[in-house]
Structures are given as structure tokens and as C-alpha cells.
């Protein structure tokens, strides 16, 4: 028979023991929840950092349109990843019951803790309650937080560190710069007869537009021509789509510029002056603007293409009725499909510069291939000479392979090969080479042309 005071003391002891158990389960719960929080936070940060690094890297590596597609995609994936990481962290969180269940499982306590946690707050525990508490407390070392969950830091630290490493890898990309397609101060003269031009709006996604700047009168005439050749009603949808795509591309380009801190590859800019304007005889040239930043307003008229070959958009071809000043550029091989093709046959105006450069280079090569006597080449010292007296060209061509015997020692000394010169007749589809005859160059222009070639 027990006295009430004994019962009370026993109850107090039991409560104390129960408190110990609940406290340990609380510690386990705290550790589990800490890991869950770390999991969600670190994964979120890892995904965010990796995504930012990827966007940063692609800002350097991709074109604006590709960047425009890639960035929302990777952002969407990142959002999904972050949401799932947060959900996983939320699922990992442990209530007291779950913490007890985990502790039961890991310490092999066979449901003792779960039962205590579940029934601790019920009024009637039954006759075996004290036994359960005592029995469970006997295993208190088994369910210490450090034994239930050893980790204090979530494994999510590894992806987090990986993301930081990726971000560090992406940083050196900031040293890369897009080499401007066109040097801002590059000069190329393009003589275009506006009446011979066929103008149309640029295709969506066309990265090689050209910005044309001109005086208001010229711009107006260009726009008029563009409007005449591309009636609004016939292709309204296409134009609006083009406009949208261009706007999106510009937006992506601006974003890229902000990320990379560098200007987007500028379009080729031309200063346009009318050649067929009687009042301004000098306005027959299309020249590249020296300062690209000042000429951003000619986008609409600048998106044009030239489709007609030999339409008059020729590169520095001398015109008999032209009152403009003499050419500042040497005339490349007329039939060499270099300079003349550039102004007429290329669809993409922005490629004209490159073509011009090529034409210059190839013109020099032609000069040396077609005949050294023409004086057309890259060597400024041999630019000028006496005009050709007669038509050049032959009924065939020669391929000369220069080779020198190389001394390979005793073994190969007697086997040096000297290639013969081969003369190959033309077939029916071939035409004899007709290099442009050297023209007389006015003395006052020679210095200018030489300076250009020296550059």
C-alpha cells in the first residue's frame, strides 16, 4: 500500500524522466530540422549561383537571340529546381512524432520513443506507462542526437560548393570580349545608286543588319523606297513579327551588355549621302560612320538588303558621269569576283566590310597571280606604274609550284624533286583570265590610295 505522498513523489520522478526523454527527442528534432533548413537553403543558393553563372557565361558566349532563348529556359529550370529543393527541405522537416520515429528506427528502439511522444500528452496512460518511460530512459544513450544524426552540416554543402566553383570558372570569361565585327573607325566607301537598290526589311533573326545614317532628306528617300517596295498591307504580320523579334533581340543585347559590361557587337553603320541628288554631287557615297554611338537612329531604314547583282552598288567603280572626287580606294580586279561582287551580289550588307577586306586582299593576290606587271597588289610600293598598253591575258594559265630541294642528308641527297611547270589548256567552260588593265591614277590621289593600302 502506498501513501499519496509516495505516489506524488513517484509521479514527479516519472515526469522528470519523461522530460529527459522529451528533451532528447527535441534535440534530435532540432538537428533534423536544422539539416532540413540547410538542405533547402544550400540547394537554393547552389541553384541560384549556378544559374547566375550559366547566364553570365552565356552572355559572353551566345548571340543575343540564343541568349534570349537560353536565359528564360535556364531561369525556368532554376525556378523549378529551387521549388523542388524547398519542397524537399519542407518534407525533411521533422515534427516531434517524426523525430521520434526516426530515432526509433536508427537506434532500433522498436517504437518506444514514438509511443511516448504520441501518448505523453494523453491523460490516462495505463499501468504500463511508467514501465515504458523507465525502459526507454534506459536507452537514453542510444538516442542521443549525435548518434541519431551525426551530421551538423547538410550534404547540400557539396552542390553549393560545386556551384561556387562553377561560378569561379565563369569569372574568367569576363576577360573575353567579343571582337567587334567592324572596327568603329574602319572606313569603306560604297557607292550606291539609290534607284538601283532593292530594299526590303531584314528577316527575323538576321544578326547582320546594317545601320544607315544619313541626312534627313536621304533617310526620307530611303524610307520612301522601302515603303514602295514593301507595302505595309501585304506583309503587316511579318513586319510586326520582325519588329517584335528585333525588339526582343535588342532587349537581350542590352541585358547581355549590362551583364558583360561591354557593348554588343555593333551593326555596320553607314553614312549615306545621295548620289543622284543634283544639288549635292558629293552625296553619292555610302560611308561608314566614324562614330557609331552617335548614329543609333537609322535602324528602320538601315535594315536593307541588296538583291540585284551589279545593280550599281559597286565598290569604288569609277563612273564616267560621276562628278564626285576621285576614288579613295584602289579598284580591285574587275573580273576577279571580288570587289564588284561585294557591292552587288551579297545579300548581307554587313558582310560587305569583310568582303571588302577580302577583296582588297584577294585583289592583291590576283595582282600577283594575274600578272605582276599590273601593279595591283597589297604592296603599296608597287601600286602604281605605267598603264597597260595591251590587253592582258592568255589562252591558258600556268600553275607554278615553287619547291626547293631539301637536303635530307646522305639518304635523301640525290632525290631532290624539282617540279616541272605545267601548262594546262582551258576547257570549254573556262574563260581566259582578263585582269583589269592598270588605269592612270591621278597624281593627287596616289598619296591617299597608298596611305589606305599601307594601313
Amino acid at each position: 500500500m502506498s501513501f499519496p505522498s509516495q505516489d506524488r513523489r513517484a509521479d514527479e520522478k516519472l515526469s522528470e524522466k519523461l522530460g529527459l526523454i522529451l528533451g532528447r527527442v527535441g534535440s534530435v528534432r532540432l538537428r533534423l530540422n536544422s539539416l532540413a533548413l540547410q538542405h533547402a537553403t544550400l540547394y537554393t543558393l547552389a541553384i541560384a549561383i549556378a544559374t547566375a553563372a550559366a547566364i553570365y557565361a552565356t552572355a559572353y558566349l551566345l548571340s543575343p537571340l540564343a541568349f534570349l532563348i537560353f536565359t528564360p529556359l535556364i531561369s525556368l529550370l532554376a525556378i523549378l529546381g529551387i521549388v523542388s529543393a524547398i519542397r524537399a527541405g519542407w518534407r525533411m522537416r521533422a515534427s516531434a512524432v517524426r523525430a521520434a520515429a526516426i530515432a526509433d528506427e536508427r537506434a532500433e528502439l522498436k517504437g518506444r520513443l514514438s509511443t511516448i511522444i504520441a501518448l505523453a500528452h494523453k491523460p490516462n496512460h495505463g499501468t504500463l506507462w511508467s514501465y515504458l518511460v523507465e525502459d526507454t530512459l534506459g536507452y537514453r544513450d542510444e538516442f542521443a542526437p549525435a548518434r541519431i544524426e551525426r551530421r551538423r552540416i547538410s550534404r547540400a554543402i557539396y552542390p553549393f560548393a560545386g556551384a561556387i566553383f562553377l561560378a569561379l570558372l565563369a569569372l574568367p570569361l569576363s576577360r573575353l570580349r567579343h571582337k567587334p565585327l567592324i572596327a568603329p573607325d574602319a572606313v569603306s566607301d560604297l557607292t550606291v545608286d539609290l534607284d538601283d537598290l532593292h530594299l526590303r526589311a531584314a528577316e527575323p533573326g538576321d544578326e547582320s543588319g546594317m545601320q544607315v545614317n544619313a541626312d534627313p532628306e536621304t533617310m526620307r528617300r530611303l524610307q520612301d523606297k522601302l515603303a514602295r517596295e514593301n507595302p505595309t498591307g501585304s506583309d503587316a504580320t511579318g513586319n510586326s513579327l520582325n519588329s517584335l523579334v528585333n525588339r526582343a533581340r535588342d532587349m537581350a543585347g542590352h541585358f547581355q551588355s549590362k551583364l558583360t559590361g561591354q557593348q554588343p557587337p555593333s551593326k555596320q553603320r553607314l553614312n549615306l549621302r545621295l548620289a543622284d541628288s543634283g544639288a549635292n554631287a558629293q552625296g553619292d557615297q555610302i560611308r561608314r560612320a566614324p562614330d557609331a554611338k552617335k548614329n543609333r537612329h537609322g535602324d528602320v531604314a538601315g535594315q536593307f538588303k541588296q538583291d540585284q547583282p551589279h545593280s550599281g552598288a559597286e565598290l569604288n567603280l569609277p563612273r564616267q558621269d560621276d562628278s564626285r572626287p576621285p576614288n579613295k580606294w584602289p579598284t580591285p580586279n574587275r573580273n576577279g569576283e571580288n570587289g564588284t561582287e561585294l557591292g552587288s551580289g551579297k545579300d548581307n550588307p554587313s558582310n560587305q566590310d569583310a568582303a571588302i577586306d577580302r577583296s582588297i586582299q584577294q585583289g592583291g593576290e590576283n595582282g600577283s597571280n594575274g600578272g605582276e606587271g599590273h601593279g595591283i597588289g597589297a604592296d603599296p610600293d608597287s601600286l602604281f606604274g605605267a598603264p597597260a598598253a595591251s590587253k592582258l591575258g592568255t589562252e591558258g594559265f600556268e600553275i607554278a609550284i615553287e619547291a626547293r630541294p631539301i637536303d635530307h642528308g646522305a639518304k635523301g641527297a640525290g632525290h631532290a624533286y624539282v617540279p616541272p611547270k605545267v601548262r594546262t589548256p582551258l576547257n570549254l567552260n573556262q574563260q581566259p583570265d582578263e585582269p583589269v588593265a592598270r588605269a592612270a591614277v591621278p597624281a593627287e590621289d596616289r598619296a591617299t590610295i597608298k596611305r589606305v593600302f599601307e594601313r
Binding site: 522498436k110 504500463l128 515504458l132 525502459d135
Partner: protein, 346 residues
């Protein structure tokens, strides 16, 4: 020598008593350790046991030995086709009193005891079989409008002979459901058989020593049964038992109401006609409680439920023809159900 128990048995008392009873039984019964444990679990859980086994596997001996070890009253009924309900419950007979007057007097049948063995219960007609229903479920029998209480503990063990099905009457589902566990007795292995031969063919019988005095044996047993009821169950384990039972019920059954919440294995839907009743869940928890006490715990664990699941659920599952033709038995179904419920565990 009688076991001395304190007035309020403890967990340790229970485990010790249980092991002692097991040891006494195994003096006679060679092998069948799991069957004996399940039999005793059913006894202390307050249920009844259906024992299925081929002839000669010690079914009757097992029950008899149990009665001797517990020092409880024991009766045996051999069920036959012509056995009548009154042969089980008892009947009113005309007896002459001391004053010479004749009057109807109730003569208790063999059901009035602590441990009843119904041998080959499937040989009796359903009417006779169902005479046991009231006794098993409510610990009372009603004869000619008069109800007679049975003295606890009341423990019915019925045996089934699975190979002699000619002229038998399979137990009705309602009666099957009243057995807490169905225990299967298989053939002994060679080592056990050798021991059986040597222990049963010698001159001496194995002496069974009762654990309790005959006067207080029922109270002792009842005290241990109350202790079983005191074992604590976490709510999540009650949910687990409920899920197990629900998972035995085929999804396409018209008796399953909320299909979305059930865990239905494909095998269950294919082979089960009717799943376990709620008594199955009770059997799981009660059997698990006994298992917990044997393990020295005052709370049940998932392992306790799983350990007893086949004995507690298999005989409550009605298989369809496809299962019989494919050679699927209820134990397979229960094993699959345990796996699927564990896999679906959150």
C-alpha cells in the same frame, strides 16, 4: 511446482510465464515453435485458434498439453457429421429431484470448460459448427431460451484436416472470422521426427508440470490477459494495422467504399474475393501486444504486427477461383500486402 506471480503481473512476469508454458509444452510437442507461440499468443490475447494440419502432427496433443500446463479444465469434441449443437452446448434433460419430482435440468455440454478442442471441426454440419459461435464470441451459450455464462478464460482450439475434404463442410466465413489466428502445423523435419520417436516410444511419459494452482489458474491467466490489453500502441501503428487490413480488400469489391485511400496491390485485386474484416486489425494489434510483452516492451512495434500478420489475416481472406487455379494462397497475399503497405509508407 507452481509459478509464483505477484498480484499485478509485470512485463517480466508475463514473459517469464509465457516462456515457462512454452517449455512445458515442448516437453511433449517436438518442434512447432512458432505454432506454439502463436497458440499461446492467442490465449493471452483472448482469442481462439484454428489449427490446420495433416493428421499425426500433434494437434490434439498440443491442445491437451496446454490444458495440463495451465492447469485449466479441458474438453475435447470430435466433430462428426451427426454431431448436434446440443452435443456441444448441452441440453435440458428430465431429472428426478430428491423429492421425486421430475424437472428439466440443464446438462452442460463439453463447451463448458476453459480450453475446448474441437477436433476436425469441418466434419460437422454448419449448424453444429455455428453452435460454437456464441460461445466463442460472447462466452455464453443459450439453450432453450436460457443463457449460461462460460467461465473465463475460455479458449477454443479447432483443428482442420486439409487433406480429407470428402464429406466435410468448410467453415462459414463468419465462424472463420471468430478465430484470432489460424496456426498451421507442418510435418516435422528429420531431427524433430527423431526426437518425437524417441520421446513417445519409450516407457516414460513426459511429465507436464502445471504452472498454476488449479484454484487460481483462471485468475492468473486473466491477469496476464489484462496486462496484454495494457500494452500501449502508438497511433501510427494503429494506422499501419488499419492499412494492412484495408490493403487485403480488393479495390473492385463493392464493399470497399473509398478506393483512393486504400493501398491495393495488383495481386489483391486479381486473386482476392473478400478481404479481411475489422477483426483482422484487432487480431494484429492484440497479437502484436503479446509479442511486445515477450520482447520486454510495453509498446508495440511495426515488427510485432508484421510477425503476426499471416496468422491473423490469412484465414480472413477469401480467394477467388483464379487464385486457386494459379496456386496462390492467402499467405502469399498477406506477404505482398505487407510489402506494398511498407512501400507506400510515408
Amino acid at each position: 511446482m507452481n509459478e509464483v506471480l505477484t498480484e499485478t503481473p509485470t512485463v517480466a512476469d508475463f514473459a517469464r510465464t509465457f516462456r515457462r508454458i512454452q517449455a512445458e509444452i515442448h516437453k511433449v510437442i517436438i518442434g512447432h515453435e512458432q505454432a506454439v507461440e502463436e497458440l499461446l499468443s492467442a490465449l493471452f490475447a483472448g482469442g481462439h485458434v484454428l489449427i490446420e494440419g495433416v493428421p499425426g502432427t500433434g494437434k490434439t496433443t498440443l491442445v491437451k498439453t496446454l490444458g495440463l500446463a495451465l492447469n485449466l479444465s479441458f474438453n475435447r469434441i470430435q466433430f462428426t457429421v451427426d454431431l448436434m449443437p446440443a452435443d456441444i452446448t448441452g441440453t435440458r434433460v428430465i431429472l428426478s429431484g430428491e423429492d421425486g419430482r421430475r424437472e428439466f435440468t440443464f446438462q452442460p455440454g463439453p463447451a463448458f470448460c476453459h480450453i475446448l478442442l474441437g477436433d476436425e471441426i469441418n466434419r460437422a454440419t454448419p449448424k453444429t459448427q455455428s453452435a460454437l459461435l456464441e460461445a466463442m464470441a460472447e462466452l455464453q451459450v443459450t439453450v432453450s431460451g436460457t443463457t449460461y455464462k462460460l467461465e473465463p478464460p475460455y479458449f477454443v482450439m479447432a483443428t482442420l484436416n486439409p487433406i480429407e475434404m470428402e464429406g466435410t463442410y468448410p467453415l462459414p466465413e463468419a465462424q472463420l472470422d471468430r478465430f484470432l489466428f489460424k496456426v498451421r502445423l507442418n510435418y516435422p523435419d528429420e531431427r524433430e521426427l527423431t526426437r518425437i520417436i524417441s520421446s513417445t516410444t519409450g516407457p516414460e511419459d513426459a511429465g507436464i508440470e502445471p504452472l498454476f494452482d488449479i484454484s487460481d489458474a483462471p485468475q492468473r491467466i486473466e491477469g496476464l490477459k489484462r496486462l496484454v490489453r495494457d500494452v500501449m500502441v502508438a497511433p501510427e501503428l494503429e494506422i499501419y494495422a488499419a492499412r494492412l487490413v484495408r490493403a487485403t480488400q480488393p479495390q473492385n469489391s463493392r464493399f470497399v467504399t473509398d478506393e483512393a485511400k486504400g493501398v491495393h496491390d495488383e495481386m489483391v485485386n486479381r486473386y482476392v474475393m473478400f478481404g479481411s474484416s475489422p477483426r483482422g486489425a484487432q487480431a494484429l494489434i492484440l497479437g502484436a501486444k503479446v509479442g511486445a510483452l515477450l520482447d520486454g516492451r510495453a509498446n508495440i512495434a511495426r515488427e510485432d504486427i508484421d510477425r503476426i500478420a499471416i496468422s491473423g489475416l490469412a484465414h480472413r481472406i477469401m480467394l477467388n477461383y483464379a487464385a486457386h487455379s494459379d496456386g496462390i494462397d492467402a499467405a502469399h497475399i498477406v506477404e505482398r500486402v505487407i510489402k506494398s503497405v511498407r512501400a507506400a509508407r510515408v
